[in-house]
């Protein structure tokens, strides 16, 4: 029990430490521009939290997270565009490219801020639930699931591009001025957005942590490692996977929604196959099964992209390729597994090694 207490104390300290870094140190140490970048990285980290849950714990390689990120982002951006335009007016791009004189019906509900906010999370979750229900029930798994996810990401991106008059086409929704009444021009409000994102990330991590430590979390790992076996224990693995998939989708949706005020744009380019794969890489590098690893990995990879591409654009591509190869082929547990190794070596407890114990007590 002492061990348990020690660990929870450490996690408590970890959370507190993260809060201090995110809420006190980063805002003081970074310029407005760099803080804005950090906000963007934290959004990818939020997606990584969901990926950690669904992929790391549940074994579902979610190669379509871009879809949910995009749905959340578009839901948020649609509301903000309507709000920017003001009552009775059409968003700027519709006036430019469209022929409609009033909002399309499927835009109308987003006029309501509460609906839009709820939709950023619930819409991706609903889509994920529908898809998951079909896919997991029919036991489409592994490679099929991954390729289907990619196909869907591609289909959504192509569709959005094709509907220029109502979705902004390739441009996406840009030039977002305000965030629920606060002007995004103002650096103070940009900081506010950053704080909201940082808080949301911590909240998602707490939710994920609770799920991972719960009985459900144990069951999820069991499903990942041997789905059929779980079935013979009387569970329907489809439901177990569905929960993780839907939660991950909701997290990606929230990330997309907060990405919009932080960066000021959402576009089909953020939805397709490539961004969907890029969401995964951060979690893979940091350690897909470790929450902290996945989050730090996502932030580190996003940061490396900015830093490297500022200096050597071509090098970034090589480096990114190399990251995938090294992290997955040679270090499947990600950087987090290195940390675990180090910790184990320091303790080197002999108790762990004595696994083979003779029988006896059975009778």
């Amino acid at each position: 029990m002492n061990v348990l207490k020690g660990r929870s104390a450490r996690a408590w300290a970890g959370f507190a430490g993260a809060a201090v870094v995110l809420f006190a140190i980063a805002p003081l140490a970074l310029s407005d521009f760099r803080l804005g970048l950090l906000a963007k990285y934290l959004c990818t980290a939020m997606v990584a939290v969901g990926i950690c849950l669904a992929w790391g714990r549940g074994g579902l390689l979610t190669l379509g997270q871009g879809v949910f990120f995009g749905l959340g982002g578009y839901a948020m951006a649609m509301h903000l565009k309507i709000a920017d335009a003001g009552p009775g007016n059409l968003p700027d791009f519709m006036q430019l490219y469209g022929t409609a004189t009033e909002l399309p019906w499927w835009w109308k509900p987003f006029e309501n801020p509460l609906f839009a906010l709820a939709a950023t999370v619930l819409l991706p979750m609903a889509v994920a639930a529908l898809l998951g229900l079909f896919i997991f029930r029919r036991r489409v798994k592994g490679a099929y699931f991954a390729i289907l996810s990619q196909a869907l990401a591609a289909a959504l991106a192509i569709w959005l591009v094709g509907q220029q008059a109502t979705t902004g086409g390739t441009n996406g929704l840009t030039d977002i001025q305000g965030f629920f009444g606060y002007s995004l021009d103002d650096p103070v409000n940009q900081r506010l957005v950053y704080f909201v994102i940082a808080a949301a990330l911590l909240l998602l991590m707490a939710i994920a942590r609770q799920l991972i430590n719960s009985r459900y979390g144990e069951l999820l790992v069991a499903v990942r490692d041997s789905e059929e076996r779980v079935r013979f224990l009387g569970y329907d693995p489809a439901n177990v996977k569905l929960v993780a998939y839907v939660v991950a989708a909701g997290m990606a949706g929230l990330a997309g929604a907060l990405f919009v005020p932080a960066v000021g744009i959402i576009s089909p380019a953020l939805i397709g196959i490539v961004p969907s794969i890029e969401f995964v890489i951060g979690a893979a590098v940091g350690g897909r099964a470790s929450l902290v690893g996945a989050v730090l990995g996502a932030v580190a990879v996003a940061w490396a992209k900015t830093a490297l591409s500022e200096e050597f654009p071509a090098a970034w591509t090589y480096f990114q390729g190399l990251l995938f190869i090294v992290a997955l082929a040679f270090l499947p547990g990600g950087l987090a597994s290195l940390a675990v190794l180090v910790r184990r070596r320091r303790k080197a407890s002999p108790a762990q090694q004595t696994a083979a114990v003779p029988l006896g007590e059975a009778a």
């Binding site: 289909a155 794969i277 190869i325």
Partner: protein, 298 residues
């Protein structure tokens, strides 16, 4: 009438291209269950091989014909190399293979950019491939493009060659043995690692051949592989893993479906509809068109 015939031919020729790019995958993904995202870059390697050969052999016709075996070798060796360096460590982790080979594909693309430059390069098609054959003349003519007929022929030849190899040669028997029961094959004295590498060589080599064919219809550039790779995987998934006939049928069905939908709607809508149709189909038959039913352990 000519429109229907024309579109059917177009669909078949789209199917032939799909078939060529998917054929190599039917071996590496279908038989060996390796999701190799760098397959598209092996296609690219085949196309660049054509380009390089054309620089040294001035006759477009001869260089194209020479390119077929050379591209097969170049891409095949690249594939075998990839198998030896990375994939053999990952056979038990198919999803990790996907991401690792995605990394490889990024690096190969950048490599192509550094060697050949970012812009597309051009190859000349031989004159006998740029024209077309008039099937119905007159005011409303029906023509079949020579390049498309050539690709169709190439695809058919490749399918025949592959299925004969798998069925009749000792190598083919070994590949099938390893696919069906790896452990048993191993204890029966088959070197599974050699078989894996050979199968990868063949599959990747076929990608090279597809690359040569693509120079006749599309751009030759660093990203040409990524444009087609997902479609190719979908063909295999819908056709059923490990089923050559499934791959062939599905390639042509998707090709015709695509061309009909493109004609009656728009290209974007057609693309989306085809993808949705595939998802729906997999609801109905999650294991694809043809499946091997076996008694499986858990």
């Amino acid at each position: 009438m000519t429109v229907i015939l024309g579109q059917t031919f177009t669909g078949i020729s789209i199917g032939a291209v799909l078939l060529l790019i998917a054929l190599g995958l039917s071996l590496t993904f279908g038989q060996m269950n390796v999701i190799n995202m760098a397959h598209g870059e092996f296609i690219m390697a085949g196309a660049y091989t054509t380009y390089v050969l054309q620089k040294s052999i001035s006759s477009a016709g001869i260089s194209l014909l020479v390119a077929l075996p050379v591209a097969f070798l170049v891409s095949g060796v690249l594939g075998a190399l990839l198998e030896w360096l990375l994939i053999r460590r990952l056979y038990l982790r198919p999803l990790d293979t996907l991401l690792v080979t995605w990394g490889v594909s990024l690096m190969l693309q950048q490599l192509a950019r550094d060697i050949f430059g970012a812009p597309n390069v051009q190859t000349r098609a031989p004159d006998w491939l740029t024209g077309n054959i008039e099937i119905i003349g007159g005011d409303d003519p029906l023509t079949f493009a020579n390049s498309r007929l050539f690709i169709l022929g190439l695809a058919v030849a490749a399918v025949v060659a592959l299925s004969l190899t798998l069925r009749l040669t000792p190598l083919g028997r070994r590949i099938r043995a390893v696919v069906q029961n790896r452990d048993l094959a191993e204890v029966s004295g088959i070197s599974t690692s050699t078989v894996d590498r050979t199968a990868f060589f063949l599959g990747s080599g076929l990608a090279g051949v597809a690359g040569v064919a693509l120079t006749l219809v599309g751009p030759i550039g660093p990203t040409m592989g990524t444009n087609v790779i997902i479609d190719a995987f979908l063909v295999i998934v819908v056709g059923g893993i490990g089923q050559l006939k499934g791959t062939v049928i599905v390639a042509f069905v998707l090709g015709v479906l695509q061309s009909v939908l493109e004609y009656s709607t728009t290209v974007s809508v057609a693309k989306v509809l085809v993808l949705v149709a595939i998802v729906a189909f997999l609801q109905w038959r999650p294991q694809g068109l043809y499946t091997l039913r076996t008694r499986s352990l858990v």
